[in-house]
Amino acid sequence: MPPIRWHIVVFLAPAVLVYSAVMIFPLFNTLRLALYSEVDQTRIFVGMENFRTLFFDPIWSTQFWNALGNNLWFFVIHMLVQNPIGVALAAVLSHPRLRFAALYRSAIFIPTILSFVIVGFAWKLILSPIWGIAPTMLDAVGLKFLFAPWLGKEEYALTTLALISVWQFVGIPMMLIYAALLSIPEEILEAGEVDGITGTSAFWKIKLPLILPSIGIISILTFVGNFNAFDLIYAAQGALAGPDFSTDILGTFMYRTFFGFQLQLGDPHMGSAIAGGMFAIILIGVCIYLFGIQTRMRRYQL
């Protein structure tokens, strides 16, 4: 019998203990909480009742599907705007003849390290119809008619917030793709040049296939980040995610239910049920990516 290698257990123990205490235990306890309800100050076990209410009681389900739909749109905007722009910026930045690349790189990345509260507040002021610089700037170029109180209109508010979030986080895909582009060896590109593949076609035919795995990772990070999002909406629109719940995403819906809002008292059990739903959605999404997409992606040995 081989000797038990105790040092492995000892070295793993701190990380496992801390991770279990602050991540695993709260996660499972939240899921457990979703199976209870409170009647007359006592907690009783109700099984899947909270989930049944959430999905089939029209009062709850309309809110849930509304939040989920908004969340999907939030994600779609990020995928369609943030990630292509990130890739394009990285491609431009990695161009060897670009001057001041380091300056642009830092400038584009800086919003990422700002707090949501600052970003939400700053953009609210920029877009404010009363004090904001957006209406004034549009006025200066004669396009004042294009201005609308975007954050206050049901039809624009969510898209506006998604674009603000894109502005904040476009630095992350840019950095990851930039790193991936830098790791492509010169010889491959030179070999392509010998075969007559240069400029843009070098990007589409050589670089893009090589950075696809990175784009996959970015997509999954965006997915998880968007479905966990809460801060920006809360900072800009408050817990009621106005106007008329048009910016309500799963995070704000969960917060409002769990902690209560104004005269609405908090309901930790229904709140946990929503949190459980969010967890399931993210888990399914990540699984689809891991087993459906990543395993089929062609990888090239560099």
Binding site: S128, A148, L151, G242, G260, F261, Q262
Partner: protein, 417 residues
């Protein structure tokens, strides 16, 4: 010998140290009134500490919209302060039923308050009181006297005069007729619907009938205010859809707007910010000479955390809050929060005096959604915010809004089923 002296010295320091701890009790107040931080620290707390040596008071407010959530979590976790500022009705009732607020019926100071004043912090049957009533706020409209003089508009009494005044300001163009936005939603319901509404549903009469199930939210009395709100949209500033509550306050105090749909709690802030003379008028009535109704909403009470480590000090503080002396300090330090104690308090601020004078001319009521009706899901108060915004923006008609709110209420409230 040296060792003995040392021992003695150690013992005596230990004794004085424990003595100091026993004497100086610090009690902490939870509140949502972060706007009043300076007033508590400079006026109210020093007055109490001067009279009660040995008790130190700390005022630790959180943001109004987060207060309920923060307080509930703190109470659950056992980290809440000794004194709890009480929201009216169900939020506090739930805290009492969960055992977080102490029963205060045996406190002598409670006899300084009328039953109406206490009603916001009692069990439904009135058998137990758990917060000392502190203040109420009155709704109405605050206006810029200079603007009215400049444009030549009379202070309106009836609804027709009110809209004529708004129209005059709009035609003149110098001032935004009315400063209110719909971004934060609650102003539309609180300063809109529940401000003008009591004139339609006849104050307490309609409110009680709604609770009893004799009137419905689809009735004329309850939908008509939405029809009136729908006419407001045209007179609010450009881009009011994204205008926040602080935006509205600033627009008015900078002198860019003529009328501000208000709660009296704005007075002290406006006094500090505005450099023009302000006046106030009541929610307009339909015809001259009609009985007027005002929302005189019991808004703040103060109670004791049942789990406090310093119940004696906390009770001393609450008894002081119930005294006429506190009412006088508070009413004058915070003009616009009108004390509820039976003892009449003389107010010095002219604007506050004007508003509190309406109590004599009009019938008082409280906000329609606060007692009992916001107990279930969907929450009637929160839905009223959305409905009032939709009315102002014109995205739904008054009849649709009434029907939606009635359906929501009927889904859980037995007297309406």
């Amino acid at each position: 010998m040296i060792r003995n002296t040392l021992k003695l010295a150690l013992i005596s320091t230990a004794l004085t140290a424990t003595g100091a701890i026993a004497q100086d009790v610090t009690i902490t107040i939870e509140s949502w009134r972060n706007d009043d931080l300076a007033l508590w620290q400079d006026k109210i707390i020093p007055a109490f500490e001067a009279e009660n040596p040995g008790i130190k008071v700390k005022f630790t407010p959180s943001a109004p919209t987060e207060y309920n959530a923060v307080l509930n979590s703190k109470l659950e976790a056992g980290s809440a302060g000794d004194i709890i500022t009480c929201r009216p009705f169900d939020a506090s009732l739930a805290l009492f039923e969960a055992g977080h607020l102490a029963d205060l019926d045996d406190m002598a100071a409670m006899s300084n308050f009328s039953d109406v004043a206490k009603s916001a912090w009692q069990t439904d049957d009135g058998s137990a009181s758990f917060c000392v009533p502190m203040a109420s706020v009155i709704h109405g409209f605050i206006y810029n006297k200079d603007a009215f003089a400049e444009v030549g508009v009379e202070v309106p009494n009836t609804e027709a005069e009110f809209f004529a005044a708004l129209e005059a300001f709009k035609a003149d163009g110098t001032y935004i007729p009315m400063a209110m936005g719909t971004n934060d939603q609650w102003e539309a319901a609180t300063m809109g619907y529940n401000n003008i509404g009591p004139n339609y549903w006849k104050g307490e009469e309609g409110r009680r009938a709604l609770i009893a199930g004799d009137q419905k939210l689809t009735d004329e009395a309850w939908t008509a205010p939405y029809e009136t709100l729908a006419k407001w949209g045209a007179y609010l500033g450009d881009g009011y859809e994204a205008q926040t509550y602080p935006d509205s306050q600033n627009l008015f105090t900078l002198g860019r707007a003529a009328i501000y749909p208000a709660g009296s709690w704005e007075i002290s802030g406006f006094n500090a910010q505005a450099d023009f003379e302000m006046g106030a008028f009541k929610p307009p009535v339909q015809n001259a000479g009609d009985t007027c109704y005002i929302s005189d909403h019991t808004d703040i009470g103060i109670g004791m955390n049942a789990a406090t480590a310093n119940p004696e000090a906390a009770k001393t503080f609450l008894a002081w809050v119930g005294s006429p002396e506190f009412a006088s300090i508070f009413g004058n330090a915070l003009p616009g929060f009108f004390p509820l104690s039976n003892e009449p308090v003389t107010l010095e601020d002219p604007l506050a005096k004007e508003i509190v004078g309406w109590r004599g001319e009009c019938e008082s009521t409280i906000r329609s959604t606060y007692q009992i009706l916001s107990r279930g899901t969907p929450n009637l108060e929160n839905d009223t915010w959305g409905a009032s915004v939709a009315a102002i923006k014109g995205t739904s008609t008054a009849a649709e809004l009434g029907a939606k709110l009635q359906d929501g209420l009927a889904s859980w409230y037995a007297p309406h089923q």
